[in-house]
């Protein structure tokens, strides 16, 4: 059931801040899906800045030759790597879809200086629920460490998305793990730890 329009389509809308590895998560999902023979289109949009700007990626799985943009209320899954950026994806989650937030806070300078507001976790959760989505929260404080250093957050969140949301029914966890291992051969062990821990991550669905 992998060929043809609409047979097994699954859209993932990813947001975050430049430097968090959002584009990489999207690439890894796409690579695994392609190896599984699924149709894939990945459309990244980043601002001009190398780091610290808003980043979004639209991943469309299961259809060949699909248009790059996910329509409003079209995403089966949202993955937000940053608390405030999550708000920019509310428009795109499907009612009944899953909204995974990794609650890291990346404050712009004006917020850091107390000159601008930054949304509370509660505010973000309220908007996500108002859009009819299922809240899936991953606490950044739970990010595991290996040999005294935190593992890569993006690979951990990728694990959580595969292990704890419907994405796991579309791409195979072992396939994704293999793609991750192949991507960074030198860091295979730490990424393995991150990914496996993500698969089992404590996801708050309240």
């Amino acid at each position: 059931m992998r060929e043809g329009v609409g047979s097994r389509s699954y859209d993932v809308y990813l947001v975050g801040v430049g430097g968090q590895g959002v584009l990489t998560i999207a690439d890894l999902i796409a690579e695994a899906a392609m190896e599984d023979g699924l149709g894939v289109n990945v459309y990244p949009t980043k601002g001009m800045a190398q780091r610290g700007g808003s980043v979004k990626v639209q991943v469309r799985l299961g259809r060949e030759g699909i248009g790059p943009e996910i329509p409003e209320r079209g995403a089966d899954l949202v993955v937000a790597m940053e608390r405030s950026e999550a708000l920019k994806a509310v428009r795109y989650v499907k009612p009944g879809g899953e909204f995974l937030v990794f609650g890291r806070v990346w404050e712009p300078t004006r917020v850091m200086l107390g000159k601008a507001d930054y949304p509370s976790l509660e505010q973000v959760g309220d908007k996500v629920r108002a859009a009819g989505a299922r809240w899936r929260y991953v606490d950044p404080d739970e990010l595991p460490s290996r040999e005294g250093r935190p593992v890569p957050a993006n690979v951990y969140v990728l694990g959580a998305a595969v292990g704890q949301t419907g994405l796991g029914e579309v791409v195979d966890a072992d396939r994704v793990a293999a793609v991750v291992a192949k991507r960074w051969e030198r860091y295979a062990a730490v990424n393995e730890t991150a990914f496996r821990a993500g698969l089992e991550a404590d996801v708050d669905g309240s």
């Binding site: 329009v5 609409g6 801040v17 690439d27 796409a30 690579e31 392609m34 149709g39 894939v40 289109n41 990945v42 459309y43 990244p44 949009t45 601002g47 001009m48 800045a49 190398q50 780091r51 610290g52 700007g53 808003s54 259809r63 060949e64 030759g65 699909i66 248009g67 790059p68 943009e69 329509p71 409003e72 209320r73 079209g74 405030s84 950026e85 708000l87 920019k88 509310v90 428009r91 404050e107 712009p108 300078t109 004006r110 917020v111 850091m112 200086l113 601008a116 507001d117 930054y118 949304p119 505010q123 973000v124 908007k127 108002a130 859009a131």
Partner: protein, 642 residues
């Protein structure tokens, strides 16, 4: 290319391989498959990845691939190769086509011998800034065929078709893409590259073809270019590049979907599902060849349908021609689009435009979002703004700070001194905390604009700012003009030695070691004085005090002054493991006055409990924060400056 819309291009040839590639890479790999010999271009988002991927492939000597000084030069190189009978391609963003257009017009009228493909990427939605421009207008003005891919896989195929079409009809051919396709990644069956054909270079002396000397020649060429476009139109029809699917029953809706709208049409109709199937039959024309206008296919829609819906991003080019064609054919049904209908000419289109257009055309009520858009708007309003600034370690930071400090020391108010801006990372001086730069027009425009402000009678000094690649691209004529006319201004050339904003391409200022083998560096410190500039300074933007003094001195001198602010892009230097220094904060001395953050806006600095904190992974050690700290609480501990 007769495969169905919505299907990627699949080939079972044994040497082929399915790869996850971008739309830009698809263009590059398609050109290799077509046996291209010469590829030139100038970087510009969203087009850069096409030529960029060829540069990275480190191709053998039988092909020539280069980043040229600007798009006009790039195009002329490709055109020269095509006149000599070789296959050539030139790549650019939409703004680049404005620069190249003078020569493209002329070559269009002369025609070509070898295949010549112009790859231009437009940016509906203006994701990367700049004018939201529809380059299809050029194809119309120039009488050149234009092909547009519907998907990433399509881009791979369509470039190969473009080369064949170019050689078959003797005309340059545009391949136009948009951001959504150029930057998307999708699996594509990629075939082995084909080496360039061994063709003896053609040396043909024929002033009726290769010059524009005189009315007779020029008018004959005008007739020729019109005839070639017509021939290309026939070829496009014959190849069925435009996919016409007529409903079995007469009546109902006919939809014209241009380029990237093709796949969205499938999805939109799928979403509408029952609503549509209860209605009259739907006929569809998916257009890959947007110039010349596919008149025959559109007339076939008129014959079959009652109403026409035109789906195209940006300007209503196909739509206007559809109106003209309707008049000629006596079609009196409604034509829904931008002229009569719900669509605007601004922004990127997607599935929702299909749904909205089909509903309008079928006379169905709009469904709306059921009040959800209020929730969406509120959510987005809560999100923190992220204005972009220069990277940690960016040398431009020092230049902006030096300009601002020099103005302060000269007792000049910032809102009294015009600082013109230019394209590239140097424009980030417009944003906080610097707010140094006032405007952004086009490549090189800062230098000309500044002269206009001088002639307007301003009593305060006028400053122009520009990057190295932009200066080579189109800033030099402006400076020569200023020298000739002796216009009193200060030009600050921010030389970071890379074309950075578009993804770190080499340019004439890049060190030879990082240029392709055999390339030579053009040293701005030699070039600028040779242009007749009397007052020329070189400064290090990481030395704030001397840099400020330099800018101040220049501002006080008469005539044309040029300051070359020189320090390599920190991103590139860091990629080679370099650091300018190492920064340490003295926790005791730090009063958390925040001056380092408010003045430099450096992303590597954040507030800690009772001291500021430097992210050592981000920090390049430029030392600017140490230089602005009023309490000597920040120091540069080891100088590894090159």
């Amino acid at each position: 290319m007769d495969h169905r819309a919505g299907e990627s291009v699949v080939d079972n040839h044994s040497s082929s391989k399915k790869r996850l590639i971008t739309g830009n890479q698809a263009v590059a790999l398609g050109a290799l498959r077509a046996g291209v010999k010469v590829v030139t271009g100038y970087p510009g988002t969203p087009s850069s990845g096409a030529l960029g991927s060829l540069i990275e492939m480190d191709l053998e000597g039988e092909r020539h691939v280069e980043w040229s000084t600007n798009e006009k030069v790039a195009f002329e190189i490709a055109a020269g190769a095509a006149w000599a009978g070789q296959r050539a391609m030139c790549t650019m963003k939409m703004s680049g086509l404005n620069v190249a257009s003078d020569s493209v017009f002329s070559i269009a009228h002369s025609g070509v011998n070898g295949g010549l493909v112009i790859y231009v990427a437009d940016d509906p939605g203006a994701h990367a800034g700049m004018v939201e421009q529809d380059s299809r207008g050029y194809a119309r003005m120039m009488d050149l065929p234009m092909l547009e891919p519907m998907t990433v896989g399509d881009a791979y195929e369509i470039v190969q078709v473009a080369f064949d079409l170019s050689e078959r009809t003797g005309t340059p051919v545009f391949v136009r893409s948009v951001t959504a396709i150029a930057n998307s990644h999708a699996p594509v069956m990629v075939m082995e590259p084909v080496p360039p054909a061994e063709r003896e270079p053609i040396l043909e002396r024929d002033i009726t073809k290769y010059t524009k000397a005189g009315s007779a020649i020029a008018q004959a060429q005008h007739r020729d270019v019109i005839a070639r476009l017509e021939e290309a139109g026939s070829a496009i029809r014959e190849m069925k590049l435009n996919e016409l699917q007529l409903a079995a029953e007469p009546g109902g809706l006919g939809v014209i979907a241009a380029g990237a709208m093709g796949p969205y049409l499938n999805e939109g109709l799928e979403l509408l599902g029952d609503v549509v199937s209860r209605q009259d039959p739907i006929s569809v024309l998916r257009v890959r060849g947007t110039n010349p206008f596919p008149g025959d296919e559109v007339r076939a829609l008129f014959d079959r349908c009652d109403t026409i819906l035109v789906l195209e991003e940006l300007e209503p080019y196909l739509e206007r021609e559809t109106w003209v064609e309707a008049r000629r054919a006596g079609f009196d049904g409604r034509i829904v689009g931008k002229i009569d209908g719900p669509f605007g000419r601004v922004g990127e289109y997607g599935v929702k435009h299909v749904v909205r257009g089909v509903r309008e055309a079928l006379g169905l009520e709009e469904t709306g979002s059921g009040g959800q858009d209020t929730v969406w708007d509120e959510a987005e309003a809560l999100a923190a703004a992220r204005p972009i600034t220069v990277c940690a370690g960016c040398p431009h930071r020092g230049t902006f700070l030096a300009i601002n400090q020099a103005l302060r020391e000269l007792k000049l108010k910032r809102d009294e001194v015009m600082v013109t801006g230019d394209i590239g990372c140097t424009i980030l001086g417009m944003n906080p905390p610097f707010e140094t730069v006032w405007n952004e027009v086009s490549m090189g425009a800062s230098v000309g604009l500044a002269q206009g402000y001088v002639h307007s009678g301003l009593k305060t000094p006028v400053i122009a700012t520009i990057g190295d690649s932009t200066f080579f691209h189109a800033g030099m004529p402006g400076l020569i003009n200023a020298v000739q006319h002796q216009v009193e201004l200060t030009l600050i050339v921010m030389d970071n030695q890379w074309t950075a904003m578009t993804g770190m391409q080499a340019n004439p200022s890049t060190e030879e070691a990082y240029q392709p083998p055999g390339n030579r560096r053009v040293d701005l410190a030699e070039l600028i004085p040779a242009m007749g500039v009397e007052h020329f300074f070189v400064m290090d933007p990481f030395e704030l005090e001397t840099a400020t003094a330099t800018v101040k001195e220049a501002l006080e001198l008469p005539g044309v002054k040029v300051v070359l602010s020189r320090q390599e892009c920190a991103i590139q230097a860091q990629r080679r493991g370099l650091r300018a220094g190492r920064i340490r904060v003295d926790d005791e001395a730090c009063t958390v006055c925040r001056r380092c953050i408010t003045v430099t806006g450096c992303p590597a600095i954040s507030l800690g409990e009772d001291t500021i904190v430097i992210d050592q992974g981000l920090c390049y050690g430029c030392g600017l924060c140490a230089q602005v700290c009023p309490f000597d609480a920040i120091e540069t501990v080891s100088e590894e400056r090159r």
